[in-house]
């Protein structure tokens, strides 16, 4: 039995010939050649450490004369060998750059061959990949060239060509180059689903070490403020994000976390991404040790506790050690061990109490509350397990059916 036969749409079964007849009016021109593989690889390599996990946008797509749409549930079209999803065509517009970032292979002192797209070429390549269902959209960033506004203009021309010339309605994430003008930032926000500007470091001093040619306050924080202020006038469906290099300038996790909290509160950043520092041969930082990928993972967990679970920064404090680093273990478990004052009874606990228990997330906490409201919450471990509670982790912190738990015995 097929889905369609089982469903409601049997009346919409038509002949193939009729379909072809109706489809004739799509009106999209032949796309022409895409960029050559060497250029695609070289400019793609420059974005390897740019993280963009999301391709979902709440934007409403309207009209039939269009190409593409945005999906609510992000779709991953492929994964890298290190496990990062490839849902967008992530590319530099050019790898020529005036800045001297000590970790970046595109920095001015590194003598790598220079590649650039033309706006038409990049738009064609994006559309061809999109129509082949290889990607969900475009993530466009760039080296700053000799003049960041000139490069921003070319990037904007590409997106304008996609949106207006080809009526492309897929997802677009546009990076704002450090130091870009207000007018260009506004146009970027009008065209893209999401814009971002990379913070890279948690403080001006750390930035001085990573990239001496960037002015932290003027080139980055001021541009983030522009985006925040413009958001009251310009619709930016997927909001503003940022990214930090983890461990490039010897900063601790707490320093990064404190800056990110400030970003969420003051800049209205929707989310922050973390990229563990990896030395690139030929750069001034080539001999620095790479950071363990788990550091990135633990920072995401702490970020999640603050942003999704609603933990206050002072509640997260116990997860950091004296030097301000996170250990390679679940921060929520570390916090619970230090701060939970007694076992939590799922039959009585509030949502806020439930989500502080390791192994219980917002979804399972909501399910417990919903079932409790209609007196259908089971009292056995098996019942909680069916709700998505990870009993192995949550068990010691829960009081199930009035029984004393490991934690309660320990407290007594």
């Amino acid at each position: 039995m097929s889905f369609i036969q089982a469903g409601h749409s049997l009346d919409a079964m038509v002949s193939l010939d009729k379909m072809i007849h109706l489809a004739d009016g799509s009106g999209f021109d032949s796309l022409g050649p895409v960029a050559d593989a060497e250029k695609v690889a070289a400019l793609g390599r420059g974005t390897r450490h740019d993280v963009c996990a999301s391709s979902a946008s709440p934007r409403q797509v309207q009209g039939h004369q269009r190409l593409g749409n945005v999906a609510r549930s992000g779709i991953c079209h492929a994964f890298t060998h290190s496990g990062r999803c490839i849902s967008l065509f992530k590319t530099l517009f050019t790898n020529s750059c005036q800045h001297q970032c000590n970790y970046c292979p595109n920095a001015a002192p590194c003598k790598s061959p220079v590649y650039s797209y033309t706006p038409e070429e990049l738009a064609r390549t994006t559309l061809s990949l999109y129509r082949g269902n290889y990607i969900e959209g475009l993530f466009l960033t760039s080296g700053a060239g000799r003049d960041e506004d000139l490069i921003m203009d070319r990037m904007l021309e590409t997106v304008r060509l996609l949106r207006q010339g080809h009526r492309f309605q897929g997802y677009v994430h546009l990076k704002v180059l450090p130091g870009a003008s207000l007018a260009r930032i506004q146009e970027a926000m009008e065209l893209a689903d999401r814009v971002s500007i990379n913070l890279e470091a948690p403080s001006p001093a750390r930035m001085g070490e990573l990239c001496p040619t960037k002015d932290y306050h003027n080139d980055i924080l001021l541009r983030q403020r522009y985006i925040r202020d413009l958001m009251s006038r310009v619709s930016l469906p997927a909001g503003q994000t940022t990214q930090l290099v983890v461990g490039g300038a010897g900063e601790c996790d707490q320093e990064i976390f404190q800056r990110v909290v400030q970003e969420y509160r003051e800049m209205g950043v929707k989310r922050a991404y973390y990229s563990a520092f990896t030395p690139v041969p030929g750069t001034p930082f080539q001999s620095r040790p790479p950071q363990e990928p788990w550091r990135e993972h633990r920072l995401y967990q702490v970020d999640w506790l603050y942003r999704v679970y609603g933990f206050a920064p002072r509640e997260i404090q116990p997860a950091f050690n004296e030097e301000g680093f996170l250990a390679n273990c679940d921060p929520k478990m570390a916090i619970a061990r230090q701060s939970l004052e007694g076992p939590v009874d799922p039959q009585q606990a509030s949502y806020q109490e439930l989500i502080r228990v390791p192994g219980i997330g917002p979804v399972s906490a909501r399910r417990i509350i919903a079932l409790r409201a209609c007196h259908r919450l089971g009292l056995r471990k098996k019942d909680l397990s069916a709700l998505g509670v990870r009993m192995k982790r949550a068990g010691p912190f829960l009081k199930i059916g009035g029984w004393n738990t490991t934690l309660e015995r320990w407290f007594s």
Binding site: M1, I4, G7, G83, R84, G132, Y134
Partner: protein, 192 residues
């Protein structure tokens, strides 16, 4: 992945679904299926999730080619009856373009036009393409080359085959006719 309110539609698309199971499912609501520890409900939840997972994976892994602007087609051989779930999704993405997905035995065609979804359930992909007068050579090497180059450029090296297949299960890749492989992965075919 939450159990949706129309979970019975997904259940019916499961290859092992029976009339008895459907009758049993009709007596439950989505919350029952999602939260119950009853073995029957858990079995239904597992089946619904299998169908939803496969449809989600196919939406990402199926690749489309075309020889003119009006038709896009791709290979797909799913284990469950998710053909129209995937073709409808792609048809909504590309309005006024015929989306044709299929394999050696059956094909699913969807067209989203003027706010209405049209369907055709037909014979093998090859036969339908022949009927539509597709040219003999259809592979778009240029786009595939660009994709391969891009995909390799995103790899930081040091891949783990098992971890890679956790994200891209072999079975899903075969169903979507995909040739994506983990770094350093070889098959018996490579030795011949």
């Amino acid at each position: 992945m939450k159990v949706p309110h129309n979970f019975i539609e997904y259940l019916k698309a499961h290859r092992d679904c029976t009339g008895e199971l459907c009758r049993q499912a009709e007596e439950m609501d989505a919350l029952d299926v999602e939260c119950s520890s009853n073995p029957g409900a858990r079995g239904i939840k597992r089946m619904v999730r299998e169908v939803m997972n496969e449809a989600h994976q196919m939406k990402g892994f199926v690749r489309l080619s075309s020889w003119d602007e009006a038709v896009s087609f791709g290979y797909m051989k799913p284990r469950h009856h998710v053909g129209f779930l995937v073709s409808d999704f792609l048809a909504r993405r590309f309005p006024q373009t015929v989306i044709l997905l299929g394999n050696g035995t059956e094909s699913w065609t969807s067209l989203y036009v003027a706010g209405q979804m049209l369907h055709h359930h037909g014979p093998s992909l090859e036969k339908v393409l022949e009927h539509l007068g597709a040219p003999a050579s259809l592979r778009c090497e240029q786009v595939e080359d660009a994709w391969r180059a891009y995909r390799c450029s995103q790899s930081a090296g040091g891949g783990d085959i098992r971890a890679f297949h956790r994200h891209m299960p072999r079975r899903a890749l075969v169903s979507a006719g995909s040739s994506e492989r983990a770094e350093g992965e070889t098959t018996l075919q490579d030795f011949f």
